[in-house]
Amino acid sequence: MLQARARAVRARVLRMAHAGRTPHVASALSCVDLLVALYFSVLRIDPAKPEDPDRDRLLLSKGHGCMALYGALAERGFFPEAVLDEYARDGGRLAEHPGPHCVPGIEAATGSLGHGLPIGAGLALAAKVRGANYRVFVVLSDGECYEGSVWEAALFAPAQSLAGLTAIVDYNGWSAMGSTHQAMDPLAEKWRAFGWSVQEIDGHDVEALASVLAAVPFEPGRPSAIIARTVKGKGVSFMENDLEWHYRPPSDHDLQRALLEISG
């Protein structure tokens, strides 16, 4: 069932990138399975009550992957399918990076990298101070982990025992111009050294993701980090691990081929 949701979200991503003629299709495909596991299995949310103060929060810190977020929110019923037609359209609500509360379900405006984790830490701290029970999940990219503010927040959250905070790194191995491995490896060790409780997992195994994410916090009193091994462009053979698709919008022909592939 989760796989079917993921296929539906991937199709939306491809259609949005094609219709909007926008880049970042491969970045969005990389995090579809993470978002599907979160929205359809993990998050305590009610699309009918998007402002419920006790809802779990998901922040897509890698804002350029937001086609996956918009697609997942539509699939989850936060807004009608037709809203997706506003993506990258003059006068529309859906930009190539999400604006604050642009549509129901968007918790934070992102787009510049390195902002989601500090905001997420603040939200988790607010829950602690106010005695609220909501949890906060932040999805980052591996390229984003070059940003210093990620590591400022990574120091902060364990020091404040923010067990309600979970960071998920969509580790597809690519930033905008090349491989991230030389700088990032071993990434799990870095987060562990900063005081996080860390698990590494296949970022495309939705069932496994759902069960691992259901287990947070992995240790009492500590924030959790998940290093999700992913493939940039996942699901479309000719987009996988090819940086061209960080930039190139799918043509009519590309779209048809890609849709055929993801429908399996």
């Binding site: 103060p53 604006g99 604050p100 918790e107 934070a108 405006a109 787009g111 510049s112 390195g114 902002h115 984790l117 500090p118 905001i119 997420g120 830490a121 603040g122 939200l123 988790a124 701290l125 607010a126 829950a127 602690k128 101070v129 106010r130 609220a132 210093g148 503010s149 400022e152 927040a153 120091l155 902060f156 020091a159 404040q160």
Partner: protein, 310 residues
């Protein structure tokens, strides 16, 4: 102004349980009582301003009313994009407190001076820029900022700023305060230049020049009614700020005059477009760029003489 800030914050925190203080490792001992009275509502986030501002935005999104405190350049410039994206773009109730207006950190050097903060903060959508004139105003400005409900930049001095208001004053964000009436000219000051503005007016008065003193403690939004009154009821406007003449109070007023087609001579007193060329106390560095009561009063008198002749 620092002690007044803590008093104001304590008053605000008593009024509103959402008020919280974050500091990026500055304010040794001065927050001890606050932390004792409000457990869980004081937090030293460490030397990490970008994270502090992001955390403040997250706290506000989670229903709190945080104040984020540091020395002014660190609270504004170091983390500028976080202020822009996390605080202003989300339009959340965060107050950023910049300590050490202008040359307050004198001998600490230009890394600690703050001569650009008004310019950059007022360029941000949704941001109110508030520069109280003395400790009495600071105390009330903190309470006003806590109740404001949208982003505020609160620019304060350091320690030892003189008290100007000897009686209680009504402080409202966006509402300027007239301290001296006058018809020949108006001296419009912001922040910690207020005591100097009053002294300049008194000096000019002794030379039979009637100089209005308007304390434009809120640089954004400007008090347009008070400004229009100065421009139409006096013959010339002078602005006084411990800030670069680029982008500060004087610039804001010049923009307003131009956009509203109000014609009135305007001259700006402020810091040069330069870093302090040597080390110096606040008084020394002010004097280097002509920010003394003597120089400002003389300059106004001679400029008014030329306005009179045209």
């Amino acid at each position: 102004m620092r002690a007044a800030f803590v008093r104001g914050l304590t008053a605000a925190a008593r009024l509103d349980p959402r008020v919280m203080l974050l500091t990026s490792d500055l304010g040794f001992k001065i927050f001890d009582e606050f932390a004792g009275e409000f457990p869980g509502r004081f937090l030293n986030v460490g030397v990490a301003e970008s994270n502090m501002i992001g955390v403040a935005a997250g706290l506000a999104l989670g229903g709190m009313r945080p104040f984020a405190y540091s020395i002014a350049p660190f609270a504004t410039l170091r983390c500028f994009e976080h202020v822009r994206n996390d605080v202003c773009y989300h339009k959340v109730a965060v107050t950023i407190v910049g300590l050490g207006a202008g040359y307050s950190y004198g001998h600490n050097g230009p890394t600690h001076h703050s001569l650009e903060d008004i310019a950059v903060m007022r360029a941000l959508p949704h941001m109110s820029v508030v520069c109280p004139g003395d400790p009495v105003e600071v105390e009330q400005a903190v309470v006003a900022a806590a109740a404001h409900g949208s982003p505020v930049y609160l620019r304060i001095g350091r320690a030892g700023d003189p008290v100007v208001h000897r009686s209680p004053v009504r402080f409202e964000i966006g509402r300027a305060i007239t301290l001296r009436d006058g018809r020949d000219c108006a001296l419009i000051s912001t922040g910690n230049m207020l005591p100097m503005a009053v002294e300049v007016s008194d000096r000019l008065g002794a030379s039979s020049i009637s100089c209005r003193v308007l304390n434009m403690h809120t640089v954004k939004p400007l008090d347009e009614a008070a400004l229009r009154a100065c421009a139409t009821e006096t013959r010339a406007l002078f602005t006084l700020e411990e800030h670069s003449r680029i982008g500060g109070l004087g610039s804001a007023i010049a923009e307003w005059l131009a956009m509203n087609r109000v014609s009135c001579p305007l001259y700006l007193f402020g810091a040069e477009d330069s870093f302090a060329p040597c080390t110096g106390s606040q008084a020394y560095l002010r004097a280097l760029c002509g920010l003394t009561p003597e120089h400002v009063a003389e300059s106004i008198a001679s400029r008014l003489a030329s306005v009179r002749s045209c």
